[in-house]
Symmetry: C2
Subunit: 390 residues, 2 copies
């Protein structure tokens, strides 16, 4: 399964994956998933936005859902998402080979646009499914080419009118997501999640005055690039001071000409911290430094939160049950957002398993996990499913 899926959407130049939601490569990965489900005689259910759950066991009852996502960040790694989907299918195979018969259904899920790499909204599929993102707002989201989600769905043959809170969640008694760890926090092959850090995406729009790069005195300029540059350095410094994370990884410059002082720089801040208060004070500190510099540069600044997810503390009872099943596996928080966080916040008992990441590198073609650790992840997931569906 790993070898077959590894080829889908891989950029031959960078080795990274480009599987934005509803793009041909992501659709190819989805068709691969449907083929795998068909081979296993799993009953696939879909919701309006295209989230999928493939069921094994008693029908029409609530059960244990596992799985993850098949989309990727731009130039992402092979493991983030697909490891959870492939491990879920492999765990079903293991349990069947053992002759296990679940007393409640086990579902293998694939949730759409978890990374938000195309429409800018992380966990798009799970947020819509859980009803925390209204359909009208979701359908109006646009990608970088100006294509709306509604138009993308129509192109994919999906009626946008069906988008909304998902009936799939009615059968999601418990959700367990297996995922590659994305830092260097896990030294054992497999661990259990305690919490997801709060996470915000904020759009910083720096406005200035376009001008000639050769003739305009430095003193006469209102250059938003300078305000942005100082803000990027301030974000780094403030995140270090707070033991948090702050990243400017995406930029758009107007007019983006070599010999023109820019009229506008738009920059997206990704900020995360261990708790909500720290995240708020981090954003406030960055915004304060940016505003002060804007006054000095004669530029303008607008900060718009595009998405802010509060801290998710996974329920302690379920977490401890997983730790017991896994003979005392280590417990750790994560700075990465996941559909599991959305489902947990929506009141579904949710847990996560992490597979060790030896380098801590993720959202990069260099993302990696040892095959032995991945197989230990499959074993752990099978043991957890067996316990929850016994």
């Amino acid at each position: 399964m790993w070898a077959a899926l590894a080829a889908v959407g891989r950029d031959p130049d960078t080795g990274g994956y480009r599987r934005g939601g509803w793009t041909p490569t992501e659709r190819e990965a989805t068709h691969w998933f449907l083929d795998q489900c068909a081979t296993r005689n799993l009953t696939v259910e879909s919701d309006g936005i295209g989230n999928l759950v493939a069921w094994w066991g008693p029908s029409d009852a609530a059960g244990v859902v596992t799985g993850s996502h098949l989309d990727s960040v731009i130039d992402g790694g092979a493991f983030d998402g697909p490891l959870g989907v492939v491990s879920a299918l492999a765990a079903v195979d293991l349990l069947r080979a053992e002759g296990f018969e679940p007393s409640v259904p086990i579902g293998v899920g694939a949730f759409v646009e978890e990374e938000g790499s195309r429409f800018g909204m992380p966990c798009l599929g799970s947020r819509v499914a859980a009803g925390v993102l209204p359909a009208s707002r979701a359908l109006a989201l646009k990608d970088r080419s100006g294509v709306s989600l509604a138009a993308a769905l129509e192109t994919a043959g999906t009626d946008p009118a069906g988008v909304g809170p998902s009936p799939l969640l009615e059968r999601m008694g418990t959700f367990v997501e297996l995922h590659v760890e994305q830092g260097r926090g896990l030294t054992a092959p497999v661990g259990v999640a305690s919490s997801i850090w709060p996470h915000g995406r904020y759009r910083f729009t720096f406005g200035g005055e376009a001008n000639h790069a050769g003739t305009t005195l430095m003193e006469d300029r209102h250059d938003p690039m300078l305000t942005y540059a100082m803000t990027a350095l301030a974000a780094n410094k403030q995140a270090r001071l707070a033991g948090a994370r702050a990243t400017f990884g995406r930029l758009s410059v107007e007019p983006n000409g070599t010999n023109a002082v820019p009229s506008q720089v738009t920059a997206w801040l990704d900020a995360r911290a261990a708790d909500d208060a720290t995240l708020e004070s981090l954003l406030a500190a960055i915004t304060k430094q940016a505003t002060e510099r804007a006054e000095r540069d004669g530029t303008t600044l607008e900060v718009v939160p595009e998405s802010v997810s509060p801290v998710v503390d996974f329920p302690a009872g379920l977490r401890d049950r997983l730790v017991d099943v896994l003979d005392g596996a280590p417990v750790l928080p994560t700075g990465a957002g996941h559909d599991a966080g959305v489902f947990s916040a929506a009141g579904i008992p949710t847990a996560m398993l992490f597979v060790r990441n030896p380098t801590g590198i993720s959202h990069s073609p260099a993302e990696y996990a040892e095959m032995d650790d991945c197989l230990a992840g499959v074993d752990a997931l099978a043991a957890v499913l067996k316990d929850l569906a016994k």
Copy 2:
């Protein structure tokens, strides 16, 4: 003429012009020019890359060429380029109305891709015409979509095989370019150029390591955005210290995703100074600070000069002759590059006239000149042409 040309290639949202070389809007402006020449019974000659000179007066002799360019920077103003072309045609009309008969031919020129906004090479047409940019290198230049100049020429119906040093220059006995001033250095309606500052475009490639924006410790990152940000601030500071200009107006970020530490930031530095030595020491100072920061960030830096034009001192004799004709018009240098600089460096006696810019704003939709000053520019150009072609 001004009203007709003002509508061509104007973005209705920004009010700025988008007339990159060989784009439909730039072609439309060129066809407008050809129509104007036909109306006046001027004899148009073209060279291999598409530079045009429309002749009035005795044929087959060397004469006085004036004119400018019709292309624009991205979101540029109405005056930069077109003012020189329109004023040249208007000056011919004035001289004819007076009954003036030139003893040597007067040519009205329109030179292609002066701004370099499409293929990244300023003064592309004049550099190829003067033989300072080899045809092979010019034809291999690519625009941001990866289209080569050779391909763009073929699309425009021009055979790339004809690109090379231009026979038009054999008849260019003198060249006089009228241009809107681009700083605030001119307080009279019309002035005469002393020199063009040396000007370099340098590509700074900052390399780092893509990673997850949420899970990667700040201390573990190799984030090229930070190295770039510090370099942009350093460039501003060093330019102020040197009384020079340094601008980072164009950026490209990979993968440019909100939740990924970038793997690479490419940034273009536009740097200019009053003399070659100051420009060199400015670049050295910026590169030194960037290199030191790269060491600290664990990132890499490569600096590639894309084009460097040395200082142009226009010949004093011709300059003084213009000042005399214009009753002691002020003399001033410019930080902006021009085809006049290329022709002067190629040994053609060259001069420039500037029309006052009340705000100093250029390369911007807000670029502006008073109509009275523009008309004074036409009168001045007519007087100069009359003197040089008498």
